[in-house]
Symmetry: C2
Subunit: 419 residues, 2 copies
Amino acid sequence: MRMGPAAGRPASLAECRRRDLADPLGPLVRRFRQPRAGIYLDGNSLGPPPRAAITAVRRALEAEWAGELVSGWNTADWIGLPARTAARIAPLIGARPDEVAVADSVSVNLFKLAAGALALRPDRRVLLAVEGDFPTDGYMLQGLAGLRPDLRIRKVAADRLAGALDGEVAVLVASHADYRTAALADLPGLSRRASEAGALTLWDLSHTAGLVPADLAAAGADMAVGCGYKYLNGGPGAPAFAFLARRHHEAFANPLPGWMGHAEPFAFAPGYAPAAGAARLMAGTPPILSLTALHAALEVYDGLDPADLLERSRQLADTFLARAGPALEAHGFTCVSPPGRGDRGGHLAFSHPHAYPVVQALIAAGVTGDFRAPDLMRLGFSPLTLTRAQAWEAAVRLERVMDSGAWRDPAFAERRRVT
Amino acid sequence: MRMGPAAGRPASLAECRRRDLADPLGPLVRRFRQPRAGIYLDGNSLGPPPRAAITAVRRALEAEWAGELVSGWNTADWIGLPARTAARIAPLIGARPDEVAVADSVSVNLFKLAAGALALRPDRRVLLAVEGDFPTDGYMLQGLAGLRPDLRIRKVAADRLAGALDGEVAVLVASHADYRTAALADLPGLSRRASEAGALTLWDLSHTAGLVPADLAAAGADMAVGCGYKYLNGGPGAPAFAFLARRHHEAFANPLPGWMGHAEPFAFAPGYAPAAGAARLMAGTPPILSLTALHAALEVYDGLDPADLLERSRQLADTFLARAGPALEAHGFTCVSPPGRGDRGGHLAFSHPHAYPVVQALIAAGVTGDFRAPDLMRLGFSPLTLTRAQAWEAAVRLERVMDSGAWRDPAFAERRRVT
């Protein structure tokens, strides 16, 4: 990857400010609460609060829960809130509203879809997954295999997926973007290749939803899951989403068929009858306060072109690289993210032998990134919530932390943080 | 059941007020936001907001999410919030803190425990359940059977459970209180009988937690699930809880082994290693805003004796019955809840051929109860949030609705409400 100044990259803080002012997406940052101090490069892990989300949750506490009590299911339309939230996510991932459900967590949704997919390919026994993919996805597949001893989980390196798609594979489970390096999978190509091999695809969009358009329908993808609290800014532990292509709706049986996925939840019928469309992927009662935050957070996407957001995120990363390049090279960082701008998602990952204390020192200097074991510093460039001026300034502070040796303070090496 | 005046029941509104004033638990109602108008007899379906819960969620929005961003996992101890919440639930159900996990929904937790229990009884294939039990519990068992075609679900009437506990039964799944009638199961007796038969017990405490002490450890129960938003007042769709007796911790494998149930979630290890104790029942990232409300709501139980709460709930129901009895009898209501005070939970259910419009008319008259198909009016007597004077006044308003024929207004017969 080219680190340092380059054609098209800003060459000064003043130029960053000029470009920020000229950017039609620039005013969007005002729709978010800004960090009290510092620069937040971890929106890829937990997005900052949209002002609309804070307002909506306050209203849910006061006007809805306190004001309406159980009637809120009707008067505040809590019962329709998952579908209204799904409808806001659908255009961001190239889906139709009835192909998306908002429910539970990414992990639980992955289990539902993987288990349900197996029943659609009853003559196949292999789940194909990626070595080093996000761990919880692998844990959930192990859990499923514990219930279905006939299953086999085949793990291969990301660049060997296409070749591993043989006639035994029921489902390919893979992330759209690698959580460490942000490397993007070839979602359209692998979806097509899987389809030709008679396998289904289950994509984890956690590290791309709201940033890199997945265009699921155009790609012919079968299923997907994704996270509500990273680029979508839905708040800590926001409910997740699940995508199920319309062509599978009739045949798909949710293995966790809770009452919220029932065609008539309040009929209290003894037998299960699935709701129409992806809504059958719901299970139990959704956490309304957290779901309210997610629903309101998604309002900011109204009328935006996802492609513009991706371009803006890449300009933010380029801005950081333009200023930070020489310091990164001088201090022994290696960028492990793909060099090609079009090959990666919204963050940059750098390996460094002392990545843990470096990240802590950087946080102390007012720039929040995160550490991922064993030796990665991740810096995220969320397009909605950051300015080019902040990306530039983050590079300045990183240089200072490294040049001054501030990161060598033994306090930064103590492993107290969980994230 | 004795409806109408009786020894020990208040005989007037003035007497209700005197007793309210003399009751040491009386001041607790001030810790809840009171309905803007009317009397709320549906805390068994959705509890009203404790003031502490509203304050805590506001703080989570402002000081934690907006103020700390991703650092909130550490500085606001979001990572420890499920365990801190579990520790507040444990004494209410007769469990030790490490025997309780707070996660997901009742439905999803039931699936985890039922599926995991089967592996503890590998030579048995029968799930024993109750005819007419809460539907979503049955749906989840059906979902499990869809993944495990060797399973059989045996449904029997509640009064035939003991006889059905033969050597084929792996797990008995039953509610502590019937969601329609509030009839209490013999939890200690059935737990003992199941244990003698070599079966495990999985109790659904959704309609008793926070009201009828389950004393799970004393009863020798193996597993349980329960709801955070009914008597526990955790807010709409609050996370649920799961109980796993300590003797099963080592052997129990969560079939939905998400990263939050991992021994070291942030190590991102490729292999799953369960957390110690019931924490292994967690799956994905918890919805922090909704969980914050539940955690704060439980503060009100600090220092209370669960037995006192149950007695207070029964006095509230007695108060209602003392005043409403003659009107209930005159207007064709039949109480389907058990006649014995000690045999039921916190609500009373009455069948009536026109229960639906009657409940709607009662809501219009400022008394919120709920309708359950096909013909039940449910009125709940939550011990923390109601006064005897309100229970009396509710009876007065019900009499008025019936005597005046107000419920015959055709508008009340239109089925628009989902709950």
